[in-house]
């Protein structure tokens, strides 16, 4: 029998009030401001923007604060917000070759044009807790050196000069880029849709999959051709004007992963590439994305599909942390009726089992929970 249950309104309202109290915490401490979150927890803000698939630092910081620092909750809130906004259009594709570089490194060429620029990196730090941050000691201004303004040639272009690397990804003629926010996914996907899904995918999930490829589950022999972080212009075509106008800059992280490829019946031995592009400063995510992108191209290169990272439906269906958290967390919602049915079934099976095995009925406190 289905029993409709009502109630809990007061408990819910009080719980939300308690949440607001705990979020604010100790009132003798100043409340954290959105500007402080943007300025001092910038990489948390970037992760929320990347996985919410919405570039807006202030709103992402607000979501982080509202979610008490729970990243997936913050991503969920920002995703929900974006559904309330109309879409004005599609940008002109951003040009990462003309990026204003804040960091650019290559693991394949030491002396590449433009040089190796470390930028604000955690690399080469000792990962020792720094007590000076407790004391809030003054921080020195960064040093400066004349920038020679030399162009930052892409590493893929260097290899392309020798004809040893596949070209940038091309889709069939007249292909309209897929958009998973508008049309339900239908497998198999084209690479453009996979990249959209990966760009908003959960960093931890993609990191684990990328790691699995390095440990032998679909080995791709990767080298970081290049990681670059910096600002690119977003331009929008204005139909009323007949030309594109810049809306301002966004910061992105790009990774070109170069993979050795032994060749197949269709393709000569050469380097292939996995590509990663992510909102904000998010090197780990961009690298993981590029490894998974390459693994998911197995079929294209005639490679055997043997590992989870190569299974498109598995990877893309489970990479979205808002979907994943919704489905996992819904289990805590009332399932009283479902469970009653299961309970009756198990009791019946147990009674039959006991009868078959000559076990006497054991009086229990079975009604206590009902």
């Amino acid at each position: 029998m289905y029993v409709a249950v009502k109630g809990g309104e007061a408990a819910i309202a009080n719980a939300h009030q308690l949440l607001a109290d705990r979020r604010r915490g100790d009132r003798s401490l100043p409340a954290i401001s959105i500007d402080q979150i943007v300025a001092q927890l910038g990489l948390a803000v970037d992760r929320v923007m990347a996985e919410a698939s919405l570039y807006d630092r202030e709103l992402a910081a607000l979501a982080v604060r509202q979610a008490r620092g729970d990243m997936i909750e913050a991503i969920f809130i920002l995703r929900a917000y974006r559904t309330t906004l109309p879409r004005f259009g599609m940008s002109v594709p951003v040009d990462t070759a003309s990026m204003k570089i804040e960091r650019r490194i290559s693991a394949t060429y030491k002396d590449l044009p433009g040089g190796q620029l470390l930028g604000p990196t955690f690399d080469y730090t000792h990962r020792l807790l720094d007590p000076s941050l407790l004391a809030d000691e003054p921080v020195a201004e960064p040093l400066r050196r004349t920038a020679d303004g030399s162009s930052m040639m892409r590493v893929s272009d260097i290899l392309a000069g020798e004809g040893l690397i596949e070209s940038d990804g091309q889709m069939p003629e007249d292909h309209v880029p897929g958009d998973l926010t508008r049309e339900p996914l239908e497998f198999p996907l084209n690479r453009d849709l996979r990249l959209q899904a990966l760009a908003r995918g959960d960093e931890g999930f993609l990191l684990a999959l990328a790691y699995s490829t390095q440990r032998g589950y679909a080995r791709t022999h990767p080298f970081v051709g290049e990681v670059r972080i910096g600002e690119v212009e977003v331009e929008l075509d204005i139909p009323e004007l007949g030309f594109a106008v810049s809306l301002g800059p966004v910061q992105v992280t790009e990774c070109q992963m170069v993979n050795q490829f032994q060749g197949s019946a269709k393709n000569p031995p050469q380097f292939t590439r996995g590509y990663g592009l992510v909102f904000g400063q998010s090197e780990r995510k961009a690298m993981a994305m590029s490894l998974v992108d390459r693994a998911l191209r197995a079929q294209e290169f005639g490679e055997d599909i043997v590992a989870p990272a190569q299974d498109e439906e598995f990877v893309i269906s489970h990479s979205d942390n808002v979907q994943a958290t919704g489905f996992v967390e819904h289990l805590k919602l009332p399932h009283y009726v479902d469970f009653q049915a299961e309970l009756d079934l198990v009791r019946r099976m147990r009674a039959e089992y006991d009868a078959r095995n000559g076990i006497e009925k054991n009086e229990t406190i079975r009604d206590a929970a009902e």
Binding site: S53, L54, Y55, D56, E58, R82, L85, P86, R87, F88, G89, M90, S91, P93, V94, T96, A97, I101, R103, D111, Q116, L117, L118, P142, L143, R145, A147, R154, S156, S167, D168, G169, Q170, M171, P177, D179, L180, T181, R191, D192, L195, Q196, A199, E233, V234, L236, I238, F243, A244, V245, S246, L247, G248, P249, V250, V252, R273, Y275, L277, F279
Partner: protein, 155 residues
């Protein structure tokens, strides 16, 4: 004919530059610019100001065919001056007042008597951005790796 085309091309690239810089201006810069506009024109709203989304596209492999990277918030406005000029403002983010002011300056840019005031504003914005970019580029350049060739062991 070609001369006309070229003129139009220059006009387009100048307005494109102006609109791009208006999008990069801070709300305070635009407000300060508005204060010095005399006489104040009649401004009618046509659309917005309103906030929405633009899907930011990247290219597969960096230079290949486009894919949808993710959206960005954009505020936009369209205004009409009493004299008929239509101005459009579109800026990243949630600041609708900034979009409205950018649209007003885009419409004023088309009026000869206001052109120099708008030029002055966007030149100021451009020099501020250039200075910031130079500072960042120089700070980044200081983190450039200078490799030394080590003496080989077998020498």
């Amino acid at each position: 004919m070609d001369a006309i085309k070229e003129n139009t091309g220059t006009a387009v690239s100048e307005r494109k530059r102006a609109m791009g810089l208006l999008a990069r201006a801070s709300t305070e810069e635009l407000q300060a610019g508005w204060l010095v506009i005399e006489p104040k024109p009649e401004v009618h709203p046509v659309r917005g100001p309103e906030t929405g989304l633009v899907m930011v596209r990247g290219r597969i492999g960096g230079g290949g065919d486009p894919f949808n990277l993710g959206e960005a918030t954009v505020s936009r406005a369209t205004v009409r001056l009493g004299s008929g000029e239509i101005g459009h403002g579109q800026v990243l983010g949630n600041d609708r007042e900034k979009a409205r002011l950018a649209a007003i300056f885009d419409s004023l840019y088309q009026r000869p008597e206001h052109r120099s005031a708008v030029d002055l504003l966007i030149d100021q914005v451009e020099s501020r951005i250039d200075a910031e970019d130079r500072k960042h580029a120089e700070q980044t350049a200081a983190t450039r790796v200078d490799f030394f060739t080590m003496v080989r062991g077998d020498n």
